[in-house]
Symmetry: C2
Amino acid sequence: MKDGLLTERQMEVLRYRKQGLTQQQIADIISTSKANVCTIEKSAMENIRRAKETLEFLYTLDATHLCTIPSGTDLFNVPSIIFGEAEKINIKVKYDTISLINRLRESRAQACKARVVCEDIIVYITDQGELYFG
Amino acid sequence: MKDGLLTERQMEVLRYRKQGLTQQQIADIISTSKANVCTIEKSAMENIRRAKETLEFLYTLDATHLCTIPSGTDLFNVPSIIFGEAEKINIKVKYDTISLINRLRESRAQACKARVVCEDIIVYITDQGELYFG
DNA sequence: CGTAACTTAAACACTTTTCGTTAACTTTGC
DNA sequence: GCAAAGTTAACGAAAAGTGTTTAAGTTACG
């Protein structure tokens, strides 16, 4: 009831991994099989994924879907796409071109490789012109 | 691969609540008791709390606790507090005064009302001087 | 005061998650 | 090619979470 999503076991494994230990080494330390370490680590990552998704939902709760930026889009084309879509529903985005790109890169770093978007990105917008990237 | 932490039922209730409906109204719509709506809403909030805590663990995995900015602090006093604490442990923060404030507002928008911090904010720092706000 | 809104607790059936095993499979680096 | 590292699948037992109900308890407010 108190803690986060991760069990003690899962946090333990993640901490050891962060230190660079192999699954086998961890298995020896916590007295189990490497296969088990693997599944514990995997379910830990899955829980982290779900935690992120949960907070995304929270953001989108008061935002409406704006558009989707397809994978492969040049980063520098993103602002005009978003501005155009926002205009259609008469909301003014509260970011200029540069800060919009920075905001996108902050919130979805792994979806941005160099100058290109490498994952589909869902764009949400609030009535106040605030943006969230799903 | 499942979605986030929240069940369909929980998201349903949160959406209706966001629209301003009472628990009784929601109970009528989804055909159950208002007590049940209450527990569903409560466990939804609990799940959101756990999601946040989970991501906080992720940040603290490679960061050390620096300090806590108490609710009520003037935003413009935050940088000097953080710089002072970082100095104590001999780490140089990689942000100047202005960008630190911007980074804080980006990452914890709802904790910043006008010029004041309205929630306790835990500050983490990595060896490289990167900051995270819990 | 009284009523609507909300919270809480105990109990129950049900589903999901977790940790563990074994054994086979794939990937990676030398 | 070999060995170490990592992954996957199938299965089981224990633990945790979910949605309900019922019944009793607050809180807020005109």
